[in-house]
């Protein structure tokens, strides 16, 4: 199956059409894993500077739980799912079917649960886009990290902004109806023409 992967400049028009679909798919995946009614409350596809990008998942010194994965294939980039620590604990309880309040630290199993939530969200986002555009987008295994939002974003931004001063970010906030659970999902595409329909 030949795929003509031309790493071209960021294809905004195509990405904005697909990002919405991918976003809803990602959030539905999380909703399935934790058995909650989750909906996208805000969706943005915007051009950001490096300095502003460090606040995309929270204020630079906000303590957050980040689940990160990178993707490669017809396009490449970064995906980050972020929650405040108390929300992350609740999600672990929900995914594992434990009574609320059971989880209060993130050990290996808890991180694995969160990693899997990130894997599902990222994969669903990529699947929705890839199938419509006739591409292949492969996610890496997830990484779970707990630290300041600015610190977590740093090395990603170093890659994204290595040769440019502005970049496109797909950012959504999603929540349960009561906003008891609220999180952020961020996609930073790096390069690649996502609309590569293979011929034959």
């Amino acid at each position: 199956m030949e795929q003509n992967a031309q790493k071209t400049k960021f294809d905004l028009a195509t990405w904005s059409n697909l990002a919405n679909i991918g976003s809803n798919s990602a959030i539905s995946g999380i909703a399935q894993m934790v058995n909650q009614d989750l909906k996208v409350t805000t969706f943005n596809l915007e051009e950001v500077s490096m300095k502003n990008a460090s606040s995309l998942i929270g204020k630079p010194d906000d303590q957050i739980v980040g689940i990160y994965l990178m993707f490669t294939g017809n396009a490449d980039g970064h995906i980050m799912l972020a929650f405040p620590p108390p929300t992350a604990y609740e999600l672990v309880d929900m995914a594992m079917g434990l009574p609320p309040g059971s989880t209060d630290t993130l050990g290996e199993m808890e991180k694995s649960v969160l990693g899997e939530i990130g894997n599902i969200a990222g994969s669903f986002f990529l699947n929705a886009i890839a199938d419509i555009a006739g591409s292949r987008l492969s996610p890496s295994p997830p990484v779970v990290v707990v630290d300041m939002a600015g610190a977590i974003m740093g090395s990603i931004l170093a890659e994204v902004f290595e040769e440019r001063e502005s970049a496109f970010a797909i950012k959504l906030v999603f929540a349960t109806p009561t906003r008891q659970i609220e999180g952020r999902f961020l996609v930073l595409p790096m390069s690649g023409s996502i609309a590569s329909k293979q011929e034959g």
Partner: protein, 164 residues
């Protein structure tokens, strides 16, 4: 510690040099980035740069604090212009933490170590050595340079604030 000290946040790729100031230059949430703090206690000139990448590989000549190789000479030059003597200037560095390691992909997102190496090289080229270093590891840091005294503090995630 006085709570009325003005905090000036130095964001990614930014830098500042002040003379006879009483504010605290601050880098918040340093991951792989390097914060360079420089202070001449005699002339009371102090500066901070928040550097993101080791060098500019794109070929376009941009003098910027985003890159360690241009940021450090630029900061020291500005310090001199404002009356600092480099021989008296105290330099401290913090940051360069490896925050994300993707299983199976060891070569990616490794800018932290490259930033530390580039910083040491640039300082050596400028004939300056850092008297305080808090680099490496896997934790985020917030760094402050108090311009009235030159005091530098570092707070790493999960640890108490300490003086560098």
């Amino acid at each position: 510690m006085s709570t009325t000290v003005e905090t000036i946040v130095i964001g990614l790729g930014e830098w500042a040099v002040r003379k006879n100031d009483s504010a605290a230059l601050t880098c918040v949430g340093l991951g792989s980035c390097i914060a360079l703090c420089a202070y001449d206690p005699v002339s009371k000139v102090g500066g901070m740069a928040h550097m993101v990448l080791p060098s500019n590989e794109s070929g376009t000549k941009i003098a910027s604090a985003k890159y360690v190789d241009t940021g450090i000479p630029m900061l020291l030059e500005e310090m001199k212009k404002k009356g600092a003597l480099i021989s008296r200037t105290v330099v401290k560095i913090a940051g360069g933490a490896q925050m994300l390691s993707v299983p199976g992909l060891n070569g990616r997102l490794n800018v932290a170590d490259r930033n530390i190496a580039a910083t040491k090289t640039a300082l050596a080229q400028a004939g300056v050595s850092a008297t305080g270093t808090e680099v490496g590891g896997n934790s985020g840091r917030t760094v402050q340079l108090f311009l009235d005294t030159g005091r530098v503090t570092v707070r790493a995630t999960g640890k108490e604030t300490c003086e560098l």
